[in-house]
C-alpha cells in the first residue's frame, strides 16, 4: 500500500511510504509502522489505542478521523492513504497539531463545572431518566479528539468561533442540574464567537467518531438563550 504522510510544520510536504497490508489494520497501525520501521523522525500523537483518549485524530484521505478505530479497509482508495495533521489547528510537526486554542476555547465557553456542594455534603443524585439528563446523554461522551473542530467550516472562516466541541461541552453543563453557572455560561456562548455563528452545516455531526451531534447541542444553546432573553434574564 502507498501511504503519503505529511512531514514538516505549516510549510512541509507529503512523503510517500510503502507499507504492508494486514487484516484489521488501523490507520494508527500504519503510522506506527512508518515511525518504527521506515522513518523514526515521524512525529505523531496517540495514547490509549482504543478510542477513549481522543489524542490520535488526523486527516485521512481529506477527512478528519480518529485513527486508532479507523480500519484501513474502510478508508483506503485504490490501496492508497494520504495522512495529514488535523485542519483548523496549527501544525507543530508532521502529524502533531497544537491543541491549545481548541482547549482554551472550552475554557472560554465556561466549560468548567461549577457546583455548590462541598466534600462534606452528600452526593447529588441525578436521575438517569430525567429529561435534562436525557438531553445530554450523547453529548457527555465527548472525548475531546478535535475531529469536529477540524471538520467545521465556521472555525475555518471565523477563527474566534468557539467550535462544536466547546459548545457541546457548554450545552452538557447548561443541562446539568447540579451546575450553578448557567447564565454566565449562556452569555459566554452567545454572539459572533458562539452558538449563533453556527451555520448548521453539520460536518461536526457527520464526522464525530462518538456519533454525538454537536449541531443538536448548539441548537439547544440557541433555544436556551432565546428562552432566557424572552424571560428578561439574559
Amino acid at each position: 500500500m502507498k501511504v503519503s504522510v505529511w512531514k514538516g510544520g505549516a510549510e512541509g510536504g507529503f512523503h510517500e511510504f510503502d507499507v504492508p497490508r494486514h487484516p484489521s489494520q488501523t490507520v494508527l497501525d500504519v503510522v506506527t509502522y512508518i515511525q518504527r520501521s521506515l522513518d523514526p523522525t515521524l512525529a505523531y500523537r496517540f495514547a490509549c489505542r482504543v478510542g477513549m483518549c481522543g489524542s490520535c485524530a488526523m486527516t485521512v484521505n481529506g477527512v478528519p478521523r480518529w485513527t486508532c478505530r479507523t480500519h484501513v479497509d474502510r478508508v483506503a482508495r485504490d490501496d492508497r492513504l494520504r495522512i495529514g495533521p488535523l485542519k483548523n489547528l496549527p501544525v507543530i510537526r508532521d502529524l502533531v497539531t497544537d491543541m491549545r486554542e481548541f482547549f482554551d476555547k472550552w475554557a472560554r465557553a465556561k466549560g468548567q463545572f461549577k457546583g455548590e456542594r462541598t466534600r462534606n455534603d452528600d452526593f447529588h443524585q441525578v436521575k438517569p431518566s430525567s429529561l435534562e439528563r436525557l438531553k445530554v446523554e450523547a453529548g457527555i461522551e465527548c472525548i475531546g479528539c478535535g475531529v469536529c473542530y477540524s471538520a467545521c467550516d465556521v472555525v475555518a472562516w471565523n477563527p474566534d468561533y468557539l467550535g462544536p466541541a466547546a459548545l457541546n461541552r457548554a450545552w452538557t453543563l447548561v443541562k446539568d442540574e447540579r451546575d450553578r453557572a448557567r447564565l454566565e455560561r449562556l452569555r459566554a456562548v452567545a454572539g459572533d464567537a458562539g452558538c449563533h455563528s453556527c451555520h448548521t452545516h453539520m460536518s461536526c455531526t457527520e464526522r464525530c467518531p462518538k456519533h454525538i451531534s454537536p449541531t443538536v447541542s448548539i441548537a439547544g444553546l440557541k433555544r436556551e438563550i432565546l428562552k432566557t432573553t424572552i424571560q428578561g434574564k439574559f
Binding site: V154, W157, N158, A190, D192, H196, S197, K222, L226, T229
Partner: protein, 105 residues
C-alpha cells in the same frame, strides 16, 4: 439580540415573500395592466401596511446576514463595518419605502 431579530424578520419575510410572489403570479395570470395594478394599490391601506412591514423586515434581515458574510469572508469587524451596514439598512428602507409610497399615492 441580532440573531433573534434576524430569525423574527425571517418569519415575517417567509410570509411576505409568499404573498408577494402569489400576487405577482396572480397579476400575470390575470393579464392585469400596470394601470389596473396601480388602480388596486392606490389608496389601499392594506397593501400599504403589508409592504411597509415587508420593507422593514428586509432592512432588518439583510444587513444582519451581510454582517456575517463580512466577518467570514472579509474578516471585517469594528465600527466601520457597522456604519456601512447601518447605511445599507437605511438605503434598503429608503428605496423600499419610496417604491411603496409610489404605488400607494
Amino acid at each position: 439580540m441580532l440573531w433573534i431579530l434576524q430569525r423574527a424578520s425571517a418569519v415575517v419575510l417567509a410570509f411576505c415573500v409568499m404573498v408577494h410572489l402569489g400576487s405577482i403570479i396572480y397579476a400575470v395570470q390575470g393579464g392585469l395592466t400596470a394601470a389596473e395594478i396601480l388602480g388596486r394599490t392606490r389608496g389601499n391601506a392594506g397593501w400599504l401596511a403589508f409592504y411597509c412591514v415587508f420593507v422593514l423586515a428586509v432592512s432588518v434581515h439583510a444587513p444582519i446576514g451581510l454582517r456575517t458574510v463580512f466577518i467570514e469572508w472579509l474578516r471585517w469587524r469594528g465600527r466601520s463595518r457597522d456604519v456601512v451596514l447601518l447605511l445599507f439598512s437605511g438605503v434598503l428602507a429608503w428605496t423600499g419605502m419610496r417604491a411603496v409610497l409610489a404605488v400607494f399615492a
